[in-house]
Symmetry: C2
Subunit: 195 residues, 2 copies
């Protein structure tokens, strides 16, 4: 099973982190985005959105980090990370959408601006980041994990851009419950850091 990967990408880290936590073996294939490999075949055929990560498992190809988490958990990760019942799946997908939309357009954007020189509105990204972290912090007031009362792919989807937030000039110190959730994630067996 091949993961087309970019080491600095938080979206790719979601998949690497989950695969490690769930004992899933992946062969990672590093893509050179400076050379535009993600915008050329074979990558642009595998993912017309020209984004990473992309997962190839035999005849099946999946783009989008959230979709890859759902696939890996369903096919290999077991019910601990992605239960079969509708309540649990609904609860988790709330956070997958939060990762795909709110986190992407706040913490991830701030990091792209600060660390990679992408031109975008930094003040807007920081304001959205504060809103996202406040929502998370409030949720963690009464929950140890984002969904279903235990670690799940919801945590794997949201965690990377939160722990990488300081690289986007985002101060995590006002969010004590987020900091404690980060420590809980780091204490999981087979936890993997971002390189």
């Amino acid at each position: 099973m091949k993961l087309y990967d970019l080491d600095v990408s938080g979206n790719c880290y979601k998949v690497r982190l989950f695969a490690s936590l769930a004992h899933i073996e992946l062969e990672t294939v590093s893509i050179n985005i400076a050379a535009g490999e993600h915008k050329q075949p074979p990558l642009s055929d595998l993912n017309p959105l020209c984004q990473l990560p992309v997962l190839q498992d035999g005849p099946d190809t999946f783009r989008d980090s959230q979709a890859i988490l759902v696939y890996l958990a369903g096919a290999y990760g077991g019910l601990a990370w992605w239960p079969r019942h509708a309540q649990g799946q609904g609860e988790i997908v709330q956070w997958l959408s939060f990762a795909a939309n709110e986190v992407q357009h706040s913490l991830c954007t701030a990091r792209l601006i600060q660390k990679f020189g992408v031109v975008s509105d930094k003040a807007a990204a920081l304001a959205k980041s504060a809103a996202v972290l406040s929502i998370l912090d409030k949720h963690l007031e009464r929950h140890d994990w984002l969904a279903i009362g235990r670690p799940s792919i919801a945590d794997c989807a949201v965690y990377p851009y939160v722990v990488l937030a300081p690289e986007g000039d985002v101060d995590l110190r006002p969010y004590g419950r987020v900091a404690r959730w980060i420590e809980r994630v780091k204490a999981l067996p087979r936890y993997l850091t971002q390189p």
Copy 2:
């Protein structure tokens, strides 16, 4: 089962459309966003993101249109719309993320600017809309439906802001395959229009 609803919202339309197609009965409760009802209790307690739709089913509450589709399909809609196998779920979640992120920040934004006077970069929204529609059109070259070879919650998540795109000053005419997919959705039994 209560859907806290906003009639002009494409995100709420995703849920109303799917519920109709899948014979699921919903009691809709209209929320007055002009009066800020979505930012006050009880709505802000049900959804700290202060967005609509919100679904309440007995003790369970779900925010986010994608999560609500997964919950409704899993709990009431049957396997036709959201299969149990990992391949099918992975395939569908690719399009749920596409709806939550790419469609939201292109077609939906263009409509918010054009129809509701929201201040944002219209040229950027139109450029992103064209990119999103091109990806869809290319995908529909070899597929009648977005995922799993039949209508699914993937179509319900992406369809609303596509069919409403002309309200955002987006011209759908260059995208012939998208137009034919729209016709296929409209021909589904118990299809529901946006009011």
